[in-house]
Symmetry: C2
Subunit: 350 residues, 2 copies
């Protein structure tokens, strides 16, 4: 492999410079992506391996990131389980028949992932072939809790009242749904690894909705089942958002990398979670709406903040569609420039 | 005054039982409120003192809370400053001409609050007269940061990209806008106190968007200006949401009460912020979508959790419109029942 900085950083091994990539790097901020989207709807892009592969490769070629992440959507496995999924302009993903009870959940099936999600695996194989080792390829899935957030609520929400009310009313029933989601997620991620994914990121976008006790009671068992089911074959990254109140619990997760949002300095996250994780993140994506000069300064501070241990430079949330491409390039360039200098200073100190 | 439990708890003085009220207690979960809204739009309710007073009193009479909170909207002072404000069905509040620069901000005026917001003061006077001391009356305002969130973005948002990008691009310019919002907020809150508000709650719904350093640099100076400008004449409550990562900073606020969301146990908040605050909160509002029995058990746990110091029983966020009124009553009844028992056990321990 040509550039394995990302994989080494995930495992906490020495690197010549810090690797950098961006969540949602294959997406709407790129004119080349928008051009494809004018011809194909979102689900068609996801489900056509050649198109998904093309989109996956765009940021590698156009922005110069150190890792590719397969173009897909966390909700695709729910569709494979039999839940009708639509992407409605302005509203995002919608499940017209949300799952609100154990009876509803009983109608979900455990799909054969090869036949129902094989298009993702095929896209992974295509990308690996195209990359030819230039950079590693990341696969991903939503955590059972975050999948359930959309499936139960039926769409994105500020408060997720149906989901949270279910957690109060019938924690055991909700845990059973999450356990079924975990089974399918394990099948799906194993398929991704077999197809060539060299690392896996778990997205727990809505993990922060729960207080620590309910997080441990309701969401954690299924998350641990996924982590356990995937095993340690490839580095595992856990991303969550708005979970400063859960850090003591997250510190126990048997994953390689914690990917944190922009709210907490990395140095403070390390003090709370200990030193056994690589950290990924966590520049506020709105910092990329400024100028290359400001971005350079922000990345310099970010890298200094992360210098207490292994660090994969990234944003604290997905790159915003309104980001100028020049600014995305400035972010990557700054990480490559300052990531070298700081890394050597870390080595000099140690 | 008949029932001053709330005011005493805010000041950390002894109470026979814990007081209870609910954020958004005057609102859509009440059929009596919905009946009025069928005849008047939201802004008409806010701006007609007799209607605002009627709505303010509904939960006192129908649900039995220990405090009234004036019916108004945090965004009204922005309208008084010259920003056009609309409430659009489904979208919530909208500023058709958002403030995105210091030049835009320059067009905002410092209004005479008596003439532009006098309807709120008149409603406060009416409510005080009607209450005749039965329970205290709370006034409120948004914090400058949270007001700016709506004013800059133009509407509610998941990421508030314009606001946050401004904070990265031109912190001084944004601080200047916040300082102007603070001036008007102080005028407005002094007017509320003169009109009879016996406590003030500051709503910082979007305070949690910022990392600790930017919170201190950008949002905090204007927040302190408001707190300082209002003075200590009445108890001051600071509410914020998703700010677990800011607790060390919030612990320095010169307010009487911290009102916290449902994500952190009160006992843990006390360990981080120290014992000089009364705490308000913090049951997850979705717990009120279950049954009276479950609500009773949840309130019992909440009160045990808060027993380490003064506690105003409340929700961790506004009551949801889909809450059955019987469940809101069950919440209040449980607080009154268990708040007595636990309070005496606190006294027994001390």
């Amino acid at each position: 492999m040509g550039n394995d900085l990302f994989l080494r950083a995930c495992r906490g091994r020495p690197v010549e410079r810090l690797p950098v990539w961006m969540m949602r790097q294959a997406g709407r901020y790129l004119p080349e992506y928008r051009a494809l989207r004018r011809r194909h709807d979102f689900l068609t892009l996801c489900k056509t391996p050649s198109l998904a592969a093309e989109v996956t490769l765009q940021p590698v070629e156009l922005v110069g990131v150190d890792a590719a992440i397969i173009f897909a959507d966390i909700l695709l496995p729910l569709e494979a389980m039999g839940a009708e999924l639509r992407f409605v302009k302005g509203d995002g993903p919608v499940f017209p028949q949300p799952v609100r009870s154990s009876e509803d959940a009983g109608r979900l099936r455990r799909p054969d992932v090869e036949s129902s999600l094989g298009y993702v695996f095929e896209a992974l194989r295509l990308v690996r072939r195209e990359l030819a080792g230039r950079v590693p390829l990341i696969g991903f899935a939503g955590t059972p809790w975050t999948l359930a957030a959309y499936l139960v609520e039926g769409r994105g929400s500020k408060h997720f009242p149906h989901l949270l009310a279910w957690s109060h009313r019938d924690a055991a029933g909700l845990r059973a749904l999450l356990a079924r989601l975990a089974e399918v997620t394990v099948d799906y991620l194993r398929g991704q690894i077999d197809a060539g994914a060299q690392a896996i990121q778990l997205f727990d976008t809505w993990g922060g909705l729960l207080d620590p006790q309910r997080f441990r009671d309701v969401a954690l068992p299924s998350l641990l089942a996924v982590i356990d089911g995937v095993g340690g074959a490839v580095p595992l990254i856990y991303y969550s958002n708005g979970t400063a109140h859960l850090l003591e619990t997250l510190a126990e997760l048997p994953v390689d990398v914690l990917s944190v949002d922009w709210r907490l300095p990395l140095d403070r996250v390390r003090r709370i979670t200990g030193r056994r994780f690589a950290l990924q993140g966590n520049l506020d994506p709105t910092a990329l709406l400024t100028t290359p000069e400001r971005i350079d300064a922000a990345v310099r501070r970010l890298i200094a903040d992360g210098a207490g241990g292994p660090h994969v430079v990234n944003l604290g949330h997905g790159i915003l569609p309104s980001t100028p491409v020049a600014n995305a390039r400035a972010f990557v360039a700054a990480a490559k420039a300052h990531g070298r200098r700081v890394e050597s200073s870390v080595h000099a100190r140690s």
